[in-house]
Amino acid sequence: MALRGERVTLAHGGGGRAMRDLIEEIFTSVFAPPGMEDQARLMSDALHDPGARLAFTTDGFVVTPMEFPGGNIGKLAICGTVNDLAVGGATPLWLSAAFIIEEGTEFAVLRRIVATMAREAEAAGVRIVTGDTKVVERGACDGVFITTSGIGVIPASRDMAASHVRAGDVAIVNGVLGDHGATILAARGDLALSSAIESDCAALGHLMEAALSAAPEARAARDLTRGGLASALNEIAEEAGCGIVIDEDALPLRAEVVGMCEILGLDPLYLANEGRLVLFVPADQAEAALAAMQALPEGEGAAIIGRAVADHAGQVRMRTAFGGTRIVDMLVGEQLPRIC
């Protein structure tokens, strides 16, 4: 153990021995990337498939607090990037991870984050093959920021895009909505709310594989991160040039999340998720896709929530439990708690 003290200092970003110790002890010993080059050299049989395409994505992660019920920023970083690849129909294979670390961050916190990342990567069947660390002065960032990029391979037989959604297609979500957003609201502490809700953060690669085997004609999927279900559906409606109708009664929601939304005057449709997606499939494959999802733990609460329609193109509407309808718009800015 060459690392001294309990916290990261600027010396750990200085390019010398302290930096090498940090990288070896905290990162490479856990991630075990091949060799110690700045570039990963990658081989996969999937690339030999004529017509197969590479999928490439990148995502930055910042979250306060860094550790929360049901996960931490490391889990978000792996799952978020795996999910970005998976919802496009790709099989996720390789990830990079770049860390910007605020001086003063405890080694113990870093170790927990990195251990989680290694565990989640293994479970999702991806390898962390390259990375980077930078240390910045106190106040220049908030704890740890992580950027992960991911590469996956899309089999020749698959072609998913929001623009493929057409009237009649059925929308399926893989579980209760808003758990992650509600967890973070409670964990921040400034609203002084406590609940047993945990983040829904999960990698959805296996779920997508199962759903696509059951519904090979699936048109498109989106992961429901910032802006929640409402934002994802609006994007799809806009790109597909059709309308979307969802049923309020069909939305899977946890009572605690509804309670938190009632207290703060928020709408669960806009709460962030980190392990939820919406999948559009032709109506005749909907039941098969639903059953395939429900058979996996990350799809246990899957439900059909609505469908694409020919009218009100580009617009999402919700049939309320009352038989009324309301437009579900894109969110403007951040959802703020309403008090009066």
């Binding site: 400034d190 009352f322 009324g324 309808t325 309301r326 718009d329 708690p337 009066c340």
Partner: protein, 378 residues
């Protein structure tokens, strides 16, 4: 959720809608000649759109959205004063979330926060008190806004601060009252209102006798209502029943929460800490006599206006309201949000000119968000 879910039963709502339709037909209300009912409270406006009640209800019943959104009626000058307070280096400025986006003359609190002001969103004035305890070297200012429902919470917080001798806590008081603007609306010659849905949670504090004048002096029925969909529909039915019988009474549909004389502890706290201002400025309605509260001299140490020498403490400041914004006329029920020349053009939630588009409870934002108008316009 107990006391909420039962009142969201679609079956009961259908029965109420049916009864409302029969009543509306009986009094000859049609799309061309509707009965105008004002829901005073922004929370009711929100429920109407959230459940799509405006579209489900008989076309002869038209909801006019009243001035009951405290964020919406906040004049620009007061937002400017908030920002002036928030930008003082010693101040931690605490506020409810929905006040963050209200535009001042040059910026909103969100923009002031981005510019470096220490502004924190809290759920309760109690959280602001806690911040003051934990930051003895900083001045914690709480942005007190809201009608009679919220006024007791800041009064109790000020009393608690006084008990503890928390010298670094103060309230920037923008509390306002419901009866005065309603009287101002009723005196407006353009008013076409036949009945009122009264604010449930305000009444929980002040009881329902403060509305007696609406029935007695102006001959209009008013029914104090809860916020669940069946509460609202039942209240509409009660208003229509009064209209049909040619009556004008104050009725209470929300008996499970609203006692006749309100809450004595709340009223005592309000009277101990606050007194009426001679007048207070409302966005779109101008100055209304005796419609705002100020902190009494006994609690002067907790009055941010006195402490930092701003606002009404140093005399009036005129900030002209936005050109071409018809918030005032929308709020008096004279025009609908969609009839404002700026609606959806110069004024959208992204580029709000008036506060009715800023707060999610504002009539214009609710129209925009829940498509009350956009679907009608298609």
């Amino acid at each position: 959720m107990k006391f909420a879910s039962e009142f969201r039963d679609p079956k009961l709502a259908r029965a109420l809608l049916q009864a409302i339709a029969e009543k509306a037909d009986a009094i000859g209300a049609t799309r061309e000649k509707p009965v105008h009912i004002m829901e005073i409270c922004g929370g009711h406006t929100h429920s109407i759109f959230r459940y799509g009640l405006d579209k489900l209800i008989h076309e002869g019943v038209e909801f006019i959205h009243g001035p009951g959104c405290p964020v919406c009626v906040l004049p620009r000058a007061r937002v400017d004063e908030c920002i002036e307070l928030a930008e003082r280096p010693e101040v931690i400025f605490t506020t409810f979330g929905d006040a963050m986006r209200v535009p001042g003359s040059t910026k909103s609190l969100i923009q002031a926060k981005a510019d470096g002001a220490d502004i924190r969103m809290v759920y309760s004035p109690l959280d602001a008190l806690e911040l003051a305890r934990r930051n003895p070297d900083r001045e914690v200012v709480f942005f007190g806004l809201g009608f009679e429902t919220t006024t007791p919470s800041t009064a109790l917080a000020i009393q608690q601060a006084a008990r503890e001798g928390l010298a670094n806590f103060s309230v920037f008081c923008n509390h306002i009252t419901v009866p005065e603007p309603i009287k101002a609306l009723l005196d407006d010659p353009y008013m076409m209102l036949e009945g009122f849905i009264g604010p449930g949670h305000v009444s929980m504090v002040i009881g329902f006798h403060p509305y007696d004048f609406i029935a007695q002096d102006y001959g209009k029925p008013i029914v104090v209502a809860g916020f669940e969909p069946t509460d609202l529909l039942q209240s509409v039915l009660m208003v229509l029943t009064q209209i049909e019988a040619g009556q004008a009474r104050v009725e209470n549909q929300y008996g499970r929460v609203v006692p006749e004389h309100g809450n004595s502890v709340s009223i005592a706290a309000i009277n101990d800490v606050y007194e009426k201002r001679p007048s207070f400025e409302w966005r779109g309605l101008g100055e209304i006599d005796a419609s705002g509260m100020r902190i009494r001299d006994a609690y002067r140490a907790y009055d941010a206006e006195e402490k930092f020498g701003i606002g009404y403490a140093v005399g009036r400041r005129e900030v002209p309201e936005v050109e071409g914004c018809a918030c005032g006329q929308v709020m008096t029920g004279r025009i609908k949000p969609t009839q404002c020349p700026q609606f959806g053009k110069g004024c959208t939630p992204e580029t709000a000119l008036g506060a009715l588009m800023v707060s999610s409870e504002g009539a214009c934002a609710a129209y925009w968000q829940y498509g009350g108008a956009r679907t009608a316009a298609e």
